[in-house]
């Protein structure tokens, strides 16, 4: 939803920016195109001023400079100089119908508007008032009166105008933006859902229908691939489960009759020993089949987990006690150090028990000469962990990564030495099934340290 709001914000921002730019541009254009007068001639005010400057009195008569005369000609204008009592002192090209004397009222009238239809402009001359008359209908004269109050509040009004503009732009952009976003929202939602790997069906109407169709077909493709992968994993896991099931009946016979032979009083002790070997190997095969099945179930995430809260210390004590109760060889010394009694993990008790047992079993199996095995529980880096370490012969550092690979995985170097090689891979997978991990630290002669990390719960 963040992205939707982001899109809307960007959209609104850019719309406001565009409208402001447009407004500015319009103002500039207004100045350039509208308020610039188009004729090349100087303005009437300038003309009347020049003429007034060019009019001089010499020996009782007025004369005008040729430049001023020229100006009058080009503007087809007439001019007269009124004395302070309203008489015409001097005139040039003065039309017939124009009166030759004026009173104050006349002057006030024509200086504002027109003199008999002629637009006139006045300028103060040192001998009176110079009046310049343009041809009829060549100029429009308008009067503007403003209240000072109004003038003072003008900037505020202009600001208000701008604000209104911005508000309008905002409103329009939000309206349009929400419409667009409404079109995009299902698509965004679809893509987000897609990234979670869930099936998506987006409405294929609207302007983005081709995009919607792409999303739908991508979703379909992903689902098909997922289904195929699941089906394959399921088949593999089932295949192993099937084999392990089918092996059990013949194995029952082997174990059953071998153990019967072992107890036959009439057999020689050598024959009994051979029967015992058959039985023991049968038992090995049994544990291999069981482990293989469990590892494959874990690998394909089909092992059901019976989750509950378990105290790590309880589990560790149980493992150590069971090893001691089941007659741990004297060559091995096992000890337990509990850091915090109350550390809990959420997990499947049997699987976690199995994982810790496997780690201890691993230390025993790889150090036939005996070693000290230490278990400890504790908390580190925000995870609850149980550590199994020994002071045995250790494993070369570069082989550590191979230990948690399944045997015969491509990439796992060398044959598995002791055991069936499923022990540590099983521990790693049990850890993974609990959102935890197995970390192995070792080197030649340094013993092995196995850390089972679980998220604290």
């Amino acid at each position: 939803m963040d992205s939707v709001i982001r899109i809307l914000r960007r959209f609104v921002g850019s719309t406001i920016l565009v409208s402001l730019l447009l407004l500015l541009f319009n103002l500039v254009l207004l100045g350039l195109l509208i308020f610039k007068e188009h004729h090349q001639m100087p303005s009437p005010e300038a003309v009347v001023q020049k003429i007034s400057n060019g009019l001089d009195q010499e020996q009782g008569s007025y004369s005008i400079t040729p430049e001023a005369m020229q100006l009058l000609d080009t503007n087809q204008a007439w001019a007269m100089l009124l004395s302070s009592d309203g008489r015409v002192l001097w005139s040039e090209r003065l039309p017939e119908e124009i009166p030759r004397s004026y009173d104050v009222t006349d002057v006030a009238k024509f200086s504002r508007y027109y003199l008999m239809g002629y637009p006139v402009f006045v300028w103060e001359h040192k001998d009176g008032l110079l009046v310049l008359g343009y041809p009829e209908n060549s100029f429009g004269k308008y009067r503007f009166d403003f209240l000072t109050e109004w003038l003072r509040s003008l900037p505020v009004r202009i600001l208000l105008l701008l604000v209104c503009n911005v508000a309008l732009a905002l409103l329009v952009s939000v309206l349009i933006g929400t419409r667009v976003v409404r079109g995009i929202k299902p698509l965004i939602h679809g893509i987000h859902t897609l990234s979670k790997g869930e099936p998506v069906q987006v409405e294929t109407k609207g302007i983005f229908n081709d995009l919607s169709q792409s999303i739908n077909s991508t979703s379909r493709m992903l689902q098909e691939k997922n289904d195929a992968l699941h089906a394959r994993d399921f088949a593999r896991s089932n295949w192993i489960a099937g084999i392990s099931h089918d092996i059990r009946t013949p194995l029952s016979m082997i174990l059953g009759y071998a153990s019967e032979l072992e107890e036959q009083p009439e057999l020689s002790s050598e024959q009994k020993q051979q029967a015992a070997i058959i039985r023991r190997q049968g038992e090995r095969l049994r544990s291999l089949v069981n482990d293989l099945n469990l590892v494959s179930m874990l690998e394909y995430e089909m092992q059901p987990l019976h989750l509950k809260s378990i105290r790590l210390s309880v589990l560790a004590r149980q493992v150590v006690s069971d090893f001691l109760n089941n007659g741990l060889d004297e060559r091995y010394i096992i000890s337990l150090h509990v850091g915090d009694e109350s550390l809990m993990v959420t997990g499947d008790e049997r699987l976690l028990y199995r994982a810790i047992t496997n780690l201890v079993q691993n230390s025993i199996r790889h150090n036939p000469g005996g070693c000290e095995i230490g278990l400890s529980t504790g908390e580190a880096d925000g995870s609850n962990q149980i550590v199994v370490c020994d002071n045995g012969k250790g494993i070369p550092k570069d082989e550590l990564a191979d230990l948690i690979l399944l045997p015969y995985t491509s990439g796992r170097i060398g044959p598995t030495r002791q055991g069936h090689g499923l022990g540590l891979p099983m521990v790693a997978r049990i850890a993974k099934a609990h959102q935890g991990e197995l970390i192995l630290e070792s080197d030649m002669g340094e013993g092995l340290k196995a850390v089972l990390k679980f998220p604290s719960s």
Binding site: R248, E260, R317, Q318
Partner: protein, 237 residues
């Protein structure tokens, strides 16, 4: 004992070799009234006709599964049933036991274990008409009578409190083996027993005062440091 060997045992399994093998082991053990069935329908018929005293039942049958067979059996018979399955998954185990099976074993199995478990079931069901009594055992000079919850010394009897009694029962059931303090706490105080370790120590101390000659140097009820306790009886030493 012979009364148990007299019992009729029904073996239901679709594999003839397995049936044959179990039958052979049972006969060797002294059972002689043994019936076999290879499928659901036969098994039901034999049960109705012969009314066996116990059944060893395979989960996978050609015409149905052992679980529904057990349900059908339960409608007219209370005989004990031991499941023998090639499926070791927890679900199956729990389902079987939940349906009222008396035990559950996973193939491949050792015949001795099967016989032992079957005998245990038979004993429990048919030989326990006498009231089950809690054990009485001796520790050195003293006798611990769990049935009456007293420790009998040379000249006096010391009663055991309820907690001490349950601790001793749990320890006696696992004599010679380490019982973790967690398991003891659970046996006495139930599932929510975290934090009772110190109380447990107090109770153990009191038991020692009753059963040991020198409670500070116990020889019967031993502490296994960091793990729990162990009861050493005459037999387990």
């Amino acid at each position: 004992m012979d009364a148990i060997k007299n019992k009729k045992i029904l073996i239901i399994d679709d594999e003839p070799e397995i049936r044959e093998m179990i039958e052979r082991f049972l006969r060797k053990e002294g059972f002689f009234r043994i019936y076999t069935a290879s499928n659901f329908a036969d098994a039901l018929a034999v049960c109705r006709l012969e009314k066996p005293d116990a059944a060893i039942l395979d989960v996978m049958l050609p015409d149905g599964d052992g679980f529904s067979l057990l349900s059908s059996l339960r409608s007219f018979s209370d005989m004990p049933v031991l499941f023998l399955s090639a499926r070791g998954e927890d679900e199956d185990r729990l389902l079987g036991l939940g349906l009222g099976a008396d035990d559950y074993m996973v193939k491949p199995f050792l015949p001795r274990e099967l016989i032992l478990r079957l005998m245990a079931i038979l004993k429990r069901v048919y030989a326990s008409h006498t009231i089950e009594r809690l054990p009485v055992f001796t520790l050195g000079q003293k006798t611990v009578d769990l049935e009456s919850a007293v420790v009998l010394g040379a000249n006096q009897g010391l009663p055991l409190t309820a907690k001490e009694h349950s601790i001793l029962i749990k320890l006696y059931e696992n004599q010679g083996r380490i019982v973790t303090s967690d398991a003891l706490c659970q046996a006495v105080w139930g599932d929510e027993s975290f934090g009772y370790e110190n109380t447990l120590m107090v109770h153990v101390r009191r038991i020692r005062e009753k059963i040991e000659k020198d409670p500070s140097n116990p020889v019967f009820l031993l502490t296994v440091r960091g793990l729990g306790y162990k009861l050493m009886t005459q037999e387990s030493r």
